[in-house]
Symmetry: C2
Subunit: 136 residues, 2 copies
């Protein structure tokens, strides 16, 4: 497992989800995981994005940011409720941004983060099992 996890695009495929917020939009937009085997490369990419989400601190960050007033929050809003140090929170936020799940908007001294719904929805779409997954 030495994967780099570059930008955060998970098999961007050919059709972007909505309008590619950054470099590579988000998670595999239209590959229902089940149905047919993933290629090793596609699996690696998907795993990169999932790894970004598979952490309690980052899940709470996503949750906190989304639930925050205006749909955005700055680091100072997040440090206390998480109970982690500021550098650690900053680190997790960076991971989420690089995975395309969060956007960073620096206004003055503050950095405001907001969730990218398309990214989360794309992830959900990959995991979801289509109605007839095993019935050809």
């Amino acid at each position: 497992m030495n994967v780099e996890c570059h930008t955060g695009a998970v098999a961007t495929s050919t059709l972007p989800v909505v309008s590619a917020p950054r470099s590579g939009a988000s998670a595999a937009c239209c590959a229902p995981l089940t149905r047919r085997p993933l290629s090793a490369e596609a699996a690696t990419d998907l795993a990169c994005t999932l790894k970004a989400v598979a952490d309690p601190a980052r899940l709470r960050l996503l949750s906190l940011v989304a639930a925050h007033e205006g749909g955005e929050a700055c680091v100072c809003d997040l440090v206390e409720p998480l109970g982690l140090s500021q550098p650690t929170v900053s680190h997790h936020l960076k991971v989420l941004v690089e995975a395309g799940l969060l956007t960073r908007d620096k206004r003055g001294v503050w950095a405001y983060f907001a969730v990218v719904p398309e990214a989360l929805n794309a992830l959900a779409a990959v995991l979801a099992v289509p109605v007839a997954a095993s019935a050809p």
Copy 2:
């Protein structure tokens, strides 16, 4: 991060998804991640299940099993396409089973694995962003 990741139930909440395949069904069945902050405990549980999925080998396993004839596959069907050793494949399968994402059915000498659609769908449901996540 020292979390145990016991059975694989992610905040089973009160209403089971379909009929709890094992001990604790699967992933948080009805908590849209966004909307309101996750508790530390809920986040830990969710992360446990997500960690089980956030691995290239295990993603491919899920994919291979689901796409396999009959919707089930035994270890010997999976070792070669994955390119990993049999013990490693067995290890990954165990992780997926303990996360409630796969079922193990030992018939004679062979162990047949099948995906638990409810578990994957529940995971997807948690990640998906409801239509109006930031508009109260």
